[in-house]
Amino acid sequence: MTPFLNLQFGERIVTLLAALVLVLQIAMVSQRWIVINIRIFAAQSFFLAMIAATIAWFNHAPHIFAAAALTLVVKVILVPILFERLVERMEIHEEIEPIVNVPLSVVIAGGLTLVGYVVAASFYRPDAPGLGHNALAVAISLFLIGFFTMINRRKALTQVLALLSLENGLFLAAISLTYGMPLIVELGILFDVLVAAMVMGILVYRIRETFESIDVSRLRRLRG
């Protein structure tokens, strides 16, 4: 009985990877450089793909391999490249100045993780198949932290990044809770994410062109 067929072992790995993903999310909260931010996001997505693959392997759910592959292609390769291009074309050098200062944001991120666990706790059932509430907790935490990061960022591009990392949380939930949704749905979702990323990229670019800055916190003409 090799460990590679043992479900407990699989769970271990998945939990470990999930933890890593969470850590990366928090790292993104504290990171000041856009380019690094993008790469952290890529790494996070990579680990997600790994999780997906693991689950696929251990639960013999072939269609999740597809999901993993798609994630690899879209979130680890395409989106980061797209964004780094943007960064170059718009010569963004200045570092991110978050609205809430870094230490406090990290603390808040920790608190949000707690919230995630509190919410997930009510889902805890010992008989639950697969990775029940642990993964859900991580997913919710990722989601909340990503959300918080969006609030906490001034630059358009970083907000988009945060949005994408937030969707990573969803992806985690999708694969770990229910071993992935039906493939076509996954496809649709990923396609949407890709298009969304592109659309927002274009928007960011046009804002930069007409507004000479991507500091969206200064876009406050429309009020009342």
């Binding site: 919410v119 918080f148 001034r154």
Partner: protein
């Protein structure tokens, strides 16, 4: 038969509306068509409601259209028929008047639109009086408010007019909100929207709810009726409307509020708790007194009349209040007396207030001003209008032998009889109310001495007044109809009270008129054991006889030995319009006596050239504070708008802020929503 008449009336009105809208490019045609249609419709409605009253039955008609989710049903029971009668008589006279009145507007105004809304207002009124379920009632109610709004704002290029129209519409809509809640509370108690189902239903609700529904209805309808303190729209809106519309507004539109109260108090409620009656009586007294007191201070002729509408609504409510109290004290006969008094006064007010507004309309059209201080001497230029206005003035002052006297006398009798009905201190309310009614009536008389004398008597105070021309024949005819109505309702009182039998039968289960009529229909009595009696017909007859026997011949003889010369005026030569007594001066004593209420503000600026004893020019200006607007409504409105502007900070434009809202909502729901 009745239903055919009624429906054909409605159809004629609507057809008139459509036709005049179609003819909007040809004003003359639009005017004739719309007025003719309105007149025809009114006559049909008159026939229908008269037939309904004398048959004493109630006719139910279902309308075949509308969203089938709701029933659009009509019931023409005695109460509805009575108010329809009021509407029909007034509307007929006003439509007759409008033939001539609208001619001036040809060319400069869109008479097609006017005719459209005019012919929409009348059917919506008729439907308000006859709608037999809550939903349809509210539809008719708001349709009426809408068409009234459009007619009020007809001269919308004037700032004041727009403001008045909007104020009216907003207040009336707020009132409708109260009605909506009240009706739905009733409906949820009874499980149906049908008025037939509401009969006596309100009294079966738990006391708290019952009281709430009562107050909701009282103020919901009170807004439309012009009940103090929710009256402020009325003196703004009635004057700015075209005068024939003012006549309808004051004559019948505000009566929809009265109708609603009658419907609720005497159909939906059984014998109510005593406090309800006292509340209505108290509010009635306050409205009557404040109405007349503010009227006294006006020298805008139409505003003055508008304030008097508030006064008369107050008098009507006194009757209602007494009736309610009698019901709770178990005195159906007295309740019937009070109810008759109130409804009688409703009809009378419709007639004489309509008459007065039409008269004012002719005057305003002739002098192009509403300010009495610029009129004067019109009795020579426009004798018929003057005579009609005088009839209206005598009637509204409640002087014998015209109709106002009869209904006020009945109210007095009801209040007087109330004293004996209970041993509690409450009974003091009745005579006190009576005394204040007396004060109101006397002040009204004072006010109408002013309202008739200043515009019509003495010398013209302006060139327009001096050049004024008598109203056109159709206008005179319209006024004459109503003047005759005042006389008929006054002298024919003993005949007219029979009309109320089916109503009291329906509301209180007794037929009172036989007790009220005495001496072979010559005298009217309060129906109590040996109460006092009046005979307006007799009084009038004696006046005529005496006049014919003595006045005319003697006047003939004395004319021969009389000369006309300049007024003596205490020997001052050269009487000119400048040293006539003005309206402001006339009401000055009362302004000083009631200054606590009016808080008058006066300002005199004199310019001197040579010495302080010879001012070259003096500017005098004098105004009273509209207490309710200044003390209640303006502060309220300012608070609301300030709060609104503060609230606008929510939408500050920062996306981070917006995201934060959602985030907070999410966290809260996750923590508290999920494990609820």
């Amino acid at each position: 038969m009745i239903s055919e008449l009624f429906l054909s009336g409605i159809i004629v009105w609507l057809a008139g509306a459509a036709a005049s809208l179609a003819l909007w490019r040809r004003p003359a045609a639009a005017r004739r068509v719309s007025c003719a249609a309105a007149l025809a419709g009114s006559l049909l409605d008159l026939a229908a409601s008269a037939a309904a009253i004398f048959s004493g039955t109630s006719t139910v008609i279902g309308l075949p259209f509308g969203n089938p989710v709701f029933s659009w049903a009509i019931r023409l029971d005695p109460l509805s028929a009575y108010f329809n009668l009021t509407l029909a008589v007034l509307a007929a006279a006003v439509s007759l008047y409008s033939f001539g009145y609208l001619r001036e507007m040809e060319g400069c105004r869109n008479l097609g639109a006017f005719g459209f809304f005019y012919n929409l207002l009348l059917p919506s009124l008729a439907l308000v009086f006859t709608a037999s379920n809550a939903f349809f009632f509210l539809v008719a109610w708001e349709a009426m408010a809408l068409s009234a709004f459009c007619l009020i704002s007809f001269e919308h290029e004037k700032e004041k007019t727009r403001h008045a129209g909007v104020l009216f519409f907003i207040m009336s809509h707020a009132g409708t909100g109260l009605l909506l809640i009240a009706f739905l509370l009733l409906a949820s108690a009874g499980g149906s929207l049908d008025f037939a189902n509401f009969h006596l239903l309100a009294s079966q609700m738990p006391p708290l709810e019952q009281g709430a529904v009562f107050l909701l209805f009282l103020f919901g309808f009170g807004v439309k009726a012009g009940l103090v303190p929710v009256h402020i729209w009325l003196p703004e809106a009635h004057p700015v409307a075209p005068s024939n519309i003012s006549a309808l507004m004051s004559g019948i539109v505000i009566k929809t509020g009265i109708y609603g109260m009658a419907r609720v108090f005497f159909d939906f409620y059984g014998p109510p708790p005593l406090w309800m009656g006292t509340v209505v009586l108290g509010l009635g007294v306050v409205s009557a007194l404040l109405g007349v007191l503010y009227a006294l201070m006006e020298h805008d002729l139409k505003r003055l009349l508008a304030w008097h509408s508030i006064e008369n609504i107050g008098i009507i409510l006194m009757g209602f209040g007494a009736a309610l109290m009698f019901r709770s004290l178990g005195q159906p006969n007295l309740a019937a007396l009070a109810l008759i008094a109130a409804l009688y006064h409703t009809f009378n007010h419709a007639i004489f207030k309509g008459l007065l507004f039409l008269g004012a309309g002719s005057v305003v059209q002739a002098t192009h001003t509403r300010n009495m201080e610029k009129m004067g001497g019109l009795i020579r230029r426009m004798p018929v209008t003057a005579l009609c206005f005088l009839v209206g003035a005598v009637a509204i002052s409640g002087l014998p032998p015209l109709n106002g006297f009869v209904s006020e006398w009945l109210t007095y009798q009801a209040l007087l009889a109330g004293f004996g009905t209970t041993q509690s201190l409450t009974r003091l309310m009745f005579p006190i109310a009576g005394a204040l009614l007396a004060l109101t009536a006397a002040l009204a008389a004072a006010c109408f001495v002013k309202a008739f004398a200043i515009p019509f008597l003495a010398l013209a105070r302006s060139d327009e007044a001096a050049q004024a021309r008598e109203a056109s024949p159709s206008m005179r005819a319209g006024m004459a109809v109503l003047a005759v109505g005042c006389a008929a309702l006054g002298l024919g009182a003993t005949w007219f009270v029979r009309v109320f039998d089916p109503i009291t039968q329906q509301a209180l289960g007794i037929r009172a008129s036989s007790a009220l009529v005495m001496a072979r229909g010559w005298a009217l009595s309060p129906g109590t054991a040996h109460g006092g009696t009046i005979s307006t017909a007799g009084i009038a007859l004696l006046f005529l006889l005496a006049g014919a026997a003595f006045a005319l011949p003697l006047a003939m003889r004395w004319r021969r030995c009389s000369v006309t010369g300049p007024a003596w005026d205490c020997g001052q030569p050269g009487l000119t319009a400048d040293n006539e007594y003005t309206a402001t001066a006339f009401s000055k004593p009362l302004r000083m006596i009631f200054s606590a209420l009016y808080r008058p503000r006066r300002e005199i600026q004199a310019e001197y050239e040579v010495s302080p004893y010879y001012p070259s020019a003096i500017r005098f200006e004098n105004e009273i504070e509209p207490t309710f607007v200044m003390r209640i409504y303006v502060p309220l409105w300012e608070r609301v708008m300030a709060a609104a502007n503060r609230m606008k900070g929510i939408q500050a434009g920062s996306i981070n802020l917006y995201l934060a809202y959602i985030f907070i909502a999410l966290i809260l729901l996750l923590l508290f929503g999920v494990r609820g």
